[in-house]
């Protein structure tokens, strides 16, 4: 298939070169050997047939199928017309440059189609199944949830899975554009399509191949070009009227002036009319606009940004407000110890050890994060006798001392001293107070931590004059604190799940008419907001299916800083699309006008027409290499 294409390309190049050579011969003989009858004419005609015969055949077979208004037919009329009125060189020139233009078009379209399909080779075909101690190679589609698989260095992970044994580093650049390898060990989750770099690992399949990240990314990108933007629809409608209009004008141009104006001969006006036909194809426009969007979709997916179609790009470029869901979007959605503040005379390690003694028997998220921060196991854990005090905390008698962990109420109940300077107001997350034998030891704060790039994401958006909002169910104080830390413009706190939607709605209503509001979320409960917003952005290929389904844009790797990257790429795309529309239309109309006035000839027409196509296509392809910053 590929070989075939290269071969036909080569054939076309040879054809054009040969024809150009003969055309040059025609010019030479016209100047130097004008006395040899028909020599230059013969050279021009042969040259014409070499490049034109295929076009003529297609045009005539089109006529038999009742297909008149196509470009080959119009090119045939224009060039045969030129031959008839004795403009041999023009006929060759038009046919030759028309062919060169077509060749260039085909080449660039194939090139960008290929660059996208190369991107799509992320779905592995095989998997090594471990069954009863034996390794069996099976097709990736046959992997079932729960299967144990062996993944060797250099292989792609066939399905979304979790490592059960071994450690390695993985390359996820095909999915997220992140070029730094990530080291993983037992318990870490892996997306399908990621490459195992250096260690052999055993993994347990979490999903089937067709439900896994690589397949979903593939499907999304393939479907993306079906959602056409307004500019694409405009171009399609425009092209429907452009060609017939130019043809009608050409006919009128050929007939009316010579009939109405005295002293005007038919041959001048027929020549002008034929020149009109040379620019009758709206190709430059029709090809460059979808090409720009297609290249943009491909370019974005290299950054781990999956854009679902031209409409999404169009809206993204107009985003002036970004609304964030807090948990899981700006924060990691996981609780961690964020502050350890011991009382005077106590060390942090000491405080943490006491807290661990108190919390080691509980499965509460807060207790778990304390134990994680402590990092060690507590000896003789089974012999410790914890007493839960509902709504307040936990009490433990340990080495004849009464130890407490809980809220301030609990400490008050036990008449703990030393809490005078402790205030709850500065807390961002949940605070556990620790006391021993009636003496306050200090506090440990557990909170959901911000993602590494959240602050950067918010700041960079602000620099672009994009307003940022945060929606959260958290208390006003803690939400405000986090918003300040991030630099979020406005925060709406203490929202019940149902309130989020109306909060978003009022932000959208407030926005300027022509501008768009984006909502960024990750969970199932965000799906309605994602659907409601102008641009719904879902975090994570592993995010909830409902959120991904409802979204216009998916950020594969959970990084909020990619939002601005997406917006910038979209803006660049729209600039290119507009440049192409204005440039192509402008040149076409100018050329038509100049020809009608007799200020341009057929050479001028074909150069302008092919030139516009080539420039518009090159401009579109710029998107493939666009910088993300």
């Amino acid at each position: 298939m590929l070989l075939n294409k290269n071969l036909s390309m080569k054939k076309d190049i040879i054809k054009c070169a040969l024809s150009a050579l003969l055309m040059a011969g025609g010019f030479v003989s016209e100047i130097f050997f004008p006395y040899i009858p028909y020599l230059s004419m013969a050279l021009f005609v042969i040259s014409y047939l070499i490049v034109g015969i295929e076009v003529l055949i297609v045009a005539f077979s089109g006529i038999f199928r009742g297909n008149f208004m196509n470009e080959t037919f119009l090119m045939t009329i224009a060039t045969v017309g030129a031959l008839v009125i004795g403009e041999y060189a023009e006929a060759v020139g038009v046919m030759l440059f028309y062919n060169i233009g077509e060749m260039f078009q085909e080449y660039s379209v194939n090139k960008s189609r290929k660059s996208i399909s190369a991107l799509m080779e992320i779905c592995p075909e095989k998997a090594n199944l471990i069954m009863e101690g034996e390794i069996k190679e099976i097709p990736a589609e046959e992997v079932k949830e729960g299967d144990i698989l062996l993944v060797k260095p250099g292989e792609r992970f066939p399905v979304d899975s979790v490592i059960t044994s071994g450690e390695t580093s993985i390359d996820r650049s095909a999915l997220t554009g992140e070029s730094l390898p990530r080291s993983v060990k037992a318990g870490d989750e892996i997306l399908s399509g990621e490459i195992n770099l250096n260690g052999t690992v055993h993994v347990k399949a979490l999903k089937e191949a067709k439900e896994s990240a690589a397949a979903k990314i593939l499907e999304m990108t393939e479907n993306a070009s079906e959602r056409k933007s307004k500019s694409e629809k405009f171009i399609t409608r425009f092209s429907a009227v452009y060609t017939p209009l130019v043809v009608i004008l050409a006919v009128l141009l050929a007939a009316i002036p010579p009939l109405l104006i005295e002293g005007q001969d038919f041959s001048t006006w027929i020549y002008r009319a034929l020149s009109f036909l040379v620019v009758s194809c709206p190709c430059a426009l029709v090809i460059s606009v979808p090409l720009s969007f297609f290249a943009a979709i491909g370019r974005s997916s290299r950054e781990g940004i999956l854009v679902k179609g031209g409409t999404a790009i169009e809206s993204l470029s107009k985003v002036s407000r970004v609304v964030f869901d807090k948990t899981g979007t700006l924060t990691k959605g996981k609780f961690e110890v964020s502050r350890i503040k011991p009382a005077a005379g106590i060390s942090e390690a000491e405080l943490l050890h006491k807290a661990a003694l108190l919390e080691c028997n509980s499965s509460h998220p807060i207790a778990l994060s304390v134990m994680k921060a402590y990092g060690k196991a507590i000896e003789n854990m089974e012999n410790l006798n914890h007493k839960e005090i509902a709504g307040k905390g936990v009490m433990l008698e340990y080495e004849n001392k009464v130890m407490l962990a809980g809220n301030l109420k609990l400490l008050k109940d036990y008449d703990v001293t030393g809490t005078e300077n402790v205030s709850e107001a500065e807390a961002e997350g949940t605070v556990v107070y620790i006391a021993e034998d009636g003496k306050y030891l200090g506090l440990i704060e557990v909170s959901d931590t911000l993602k590494q790039d959240s602050t950067e994401a918010v700041n960079s958006l602000k620099k672009e004059n994009i307003l940022t909002y945060m929606l959260t169910g958290d208390s006003k104080i803690s939400a405000q604190k986090m918003a300040e830390k991030l630099g979020i413009s406005e925060v709406k706190s203490e929202l019940l799940p149902g309130d989020k939607l109306s909060a978003l709605e009022s932000i959208m209503k407030d926005n300027k008419e022509a501008m768009k509001t984006a909502f960024v979320g990750d969970g199932i409960n965000d799906a309605p907001s994602i659907a409601l917003s102008d641009v719904g952005i879902a975090m994570g290929a592993l995010g909830s299916d409902a959120a991904v389904e409802a979204s216009d844009v998916v950020l594969v790797d959970d990084k909020p800083s990619k939002i601005l990257t997406a917006i910038k790429l979209a803006r660049k795309t729209m600039v290119i699309v507009k440049e192409n529309i204005v440039f192509a239309l402008g040149v076409k109309f100018l050329v038509l006008l100049l020809i009608a006035l007799g200020l341009g000839n057929m050479w001028f027409a074909i150069f302008a027409d092919v030139g516009v196509s080539v420039l518009a296509i090159l401009n579109s392809m710029r998107m493939l290499i666009a910088k993300s910053k």
Binding site: N70, S225, E226, T236, P282
Partner: protein
């Protein structure tokens, strides 16, 4: 009812636009969308439309506009 096709050898953008327009005019077609770059045609047809008849009509249009194109169902 959504039907999906791949239009092979599609290399003229204007032809793609023409095919899309003609297919949109077919009886029983609610919306047809042909992406020139991905060469994928998606047809949203009214329920109860004969699928074979639609396949035949669409193929006819594709061939008429660009004879070297062929249609495969996906």
């Amino acid at each position: 009812m959504t039907l999906k096709y791949k239009v092979n050898n599609l290399c003229c953008a204007n032809c793609a636009a023409k095919m899309e327009r003609s297919i949109n005019k077919l009886k029983g077609v609610k919306e047809a969308n042909l992406s020139f770059m991905s060469m994928r045609l998606t047809v949203d047809a009214e329920a109860g439309t004969s699928e074979e008849e639609l396949d035949r009509q669409i193929e006819k249009i594709v061939k008429k506009v660009e004879s070297k194109c062929s249609l495969t169902k996906i």
